[in-house]
Symmetry: C2
Subunit: 150 residues, 2 copies
DNA sequence: AATTAAATAGTAATTATTCTTGTTGACTTT
DNA sequence: AAAGTCAACAAGAATAATTACTATTTAATT
């Protein structure tokens, strides 16, 4: 399932992306990209920084954050839970999910009972025992849609 | 869908919960609870603090955080995204979802194509236009399951 | 090789959240 | 009702993740 391209191909791909985006492929970016490609454990910026300590002792943590943000914008990585914002609290006790507007960050409750009732894939048993599921739908809310069409 | 109990009943419910948990129902806790009950916009601790500024000018932001954490443990509210932990990055380009262990916080990829193909409920048209979906399954991973059974 | 603009390192700043400490105030016991 | 007790609080300090600032370096271009 997880496509594992040969290393050189991945790097060519990165070069392509950087060229198209008009940004430079620096040592630091390449090193962070390589580290991401061999890491299968969803590392944090700090962990990536630590892992590159030996090969790039002068690498600044700031650069790791900036590069990961750049990669995020280029679609190379995804931030797992978007923590730029404050923790939000939800007092709705009913089973529900969330729509999050990528533009204005508004959060709206939504209900999807068919999904709540659906059975999980068999492969779950290889991973663990589920206590609850939380779905986030990301997109543009109707208000922001209108505004962007003006 | 969203059950809206009459106010007095909700407060009785809170009293019950506090009694059972052996904690006091203080002015501050009651005020924060009331604010949560009339807020339908997933407020942050800071916003709740601001909204209570007039009625409780001496309320400390720290108390809001502490109370919300207490409420979280009591199941009265849920934290939406936890600012506390580090942002994690995912370089797997394939459509996938995540299992998150509630105990060791490990994150594992999982694939669920049936869900990816399923059509969203009609009601999302009232909310906005979806760009992507992200599912989080929370539970105990097999390793933590074993350890807790020792 | 020189130029130029983007990217980096190092350090400082910012910001959400939590901790520390002394105080308050709601119960309990007398 | 007065004194005692302990959870909960306010205030300000501390922490930790992330971002901003600035002088320097580096990659791409001429």
């Amino acid at each position: 399932m997880k496509t594992k391209l040969p290393n050189q191909k991945q790097i060519e791909h990165l070069k392509d992306i950087c060229n198209k985006a008009g940004i430079k492929l620096t040592h630091q970016r390449l090193a962070i990209f390589r580290e991401l490609m061999i890491s299968h454990d969803h590392p944090s910026a700090e962990i990536i920084h630590k892992r590159l300590e030996k090969s790039l002792p002068t690498l600044a943590i700031d650069t790791v954050y900036r590069t990961l943000s750049t990669f995020n914008e280029l679609g190379i990585v995804k931030k797992l839970h978007l923590k730029n914002e404050r923790t939000l609290f939800d007092a709705n006790p009913d089973q529900h999910h969330h729509f999050i507007c990528t533009r204005c960050k508004a959060v709206k409750d939504l209900y999807w009972e068919d999904f709540d009732k659906s059975t999980l894939p068999e492969s779950i048993h290889n991973i663990g025992h589920i206590q609850f599921r939380h779905l986030e739908l990301h997109g543009l809310c109707n208000r922001c849609l209108k505004e962007s069409n003006l």
